[in-house]
Amino acid sequence: MTNPILENIRRSLARTPHPTRSLRPDILEPRLPESEDSEVERFLLEVNKLSGKAERLEQANILSALQSLIVEQNIRKATVWNTPRLNQLQITNHLSSLGVELVSPNADKHTSAQCDLGITEADFLLPETGTLVLRSSAEKPRAVSLAPRVHLAIVRPEMLRADMHQVFAEAKDGNYLVFITGPSRTADIELTVTLGVHGPKNLYVWMIVQTSNI
């Protein structure tokens, strides 16, 4: 099997017929995590700096938080990842009880694109950059975090990883991964920052923390 491009590369580099590669140069050590509390704090701060709306939320307050989100963003249709955690939080039940029409996350693209709100979890979170890291599967479709004009990610502190290195070590063998760092943005017209040009205009991140016993 000959490949003229590979052969020409070998000729140009004066390689032997069956080359082996030299060792890759070293890479910097990953960042080390700080305390969970300060990692959470850092993550929320970075999302907010990017015009996202990130906050801590007690599990008991989810229904009321959803209610204000729906009013604030005028949500009529929503689509939600079909994951055990979101099911356990009864997100779809809450939405129905608030009068929001639910669309299956696996609905066809035209239907998905009409949703006002997409709700996902995250697989990992990067505190330094305020990044959500999402994998994909039939239960966790890619369009839910992309097509609706509002994206809500419901996350937990356990998802935090100190650096990209740790995320990649755990996730590199999947077929798809996306880093989401803030809402969709452009500065293409006169350098004016405009949010929501193709992806969601509004990004909400709720960090679910243990309900405190008062």
């Binding site: 491009i5 590369i9 990953p30 694109a113 996306v178 969709s184 293409d188 006169e190 193709h198 992806g199």
Partner: protein, 480 residues
Amino acid sequence: MSEPPAYIGFEEYSEHIPASIPAAVQQATSRFVSGRAARVAELPEWEQLRQAGSEIRLHTIENMDVYLAQLEEKILSAGGHVHWAQTAEDANRIVLQIAKEHNVKTAVKSKSMATEEIGLNHFLEKENIQIIETDLGEYIIQLAGTGPSHIIVPAVHLKKEEIAAIFSEKLDMNAPADPIELARIAREILREKFLTAEMGISGGNFLVAETGTLVMVTNEGNGRMCTTMPELHVAVVGIDKIIPDWESLTVFLKLLARSATGQKLSTYTQFITGPRHEEGEFGPKEFHLILLDNGRSNILQDPIGREVFKCIRCGACANVCPVYKNVGGFAYGWFISGPIGAILSPQMLGIKTARELPYASTLCGACADVCPVKIPIPTILRHLRRRVAEGDAISLPTIPVPIRAAAGLSSLALAHNWIYRFGALILPTLMSIFKRNGWIPSAPYPLSRWTKSRPLPPFTSHFRRWWKTARPTQGKDSTR
């Protein structure tokens, strides 16, 4: 941009530059320069990252064949297709063939320099396939029918009023001169295209050999749309985009957005390994990667010139370049502009076609200072200037014979003391023939090229003779 240029007239263009260009370009470059500076200041390990980035890129260039072979194997085992395109025509034909097999009428495209390089839009349009740019800036210049003026913000040379006029004319509407409103209009129109197009076309920022992964970095989300909605995804990527593994990626992702836009990370970074696994997850059913050579494998012969392939396309070199800031992107004549264009285009198009570009620089070195992968741009510029002057395998020298003869003679004289001294002895005598009132107002060719514009000062005394009489004596100097 359709065909590669037959000649890049940098000088001609720069003399007739529209006044609006430098102003708009400098607004963008100063924004990016200060954004980059702020991000770099936050990161104490910045210089170590640059060093690692530079070393990994060099290592990858030197082992490119092995990594590309690994990439192909991994993509195939992930269920994707890999095509090798030796030339731009090959790449265009492969895209067309895939499109025809899938009965594609409309394709949505995410910003890509490789497809600009091969002139894909023009080619597909001739074949009656509609191809729509979906990055807002690219969409605007596609409607306007012009080229990009800046690598990151391609339509920065257009004022909002001009963009509104373009929208109104081309889209048959009454568009207001408001950036937010214009972006909303584009979102609505393009959303429909994303949902109906049969094919998504993209470039790629990196190709990870370890797993056969295509990495795409975008801000608007159009890159995600192009690779999520259509059933078919075709990526056209230069072979130089290969990197060894995901560990290497940690270095480049930390360098890229900070250097380009002054963000810590761009909004969306996608890592795509083959097609979707399950229908319900969205994403394409078929994934094709076209690996583009288009002369790159030849450039690898040149150990100085090939460092251009370390480039990660951030545009930081252009943002600090005093020449780029005053002429903008069009002057560089092809898909890539700024200092990186000045060292890439001559190597890809041939020295003859782009012979002005290595001179489109003051050699101030600002570009090398900010380059996240430490490309020695001034060194490569000087290297290319030498190739322009002396000719290379395919081009004749551009310096006229008399000048080259004079340069040859002087290098001979400077290398041999006796020739130099002999010349110094006879030249004043020879020149005295032309001397009038202490100056030489006109001299025979080739010196007439000088005297046409100003008189030549005659050789008067020679330094060695003068030094013997005028230098301070040893004794005086050493006593203090």
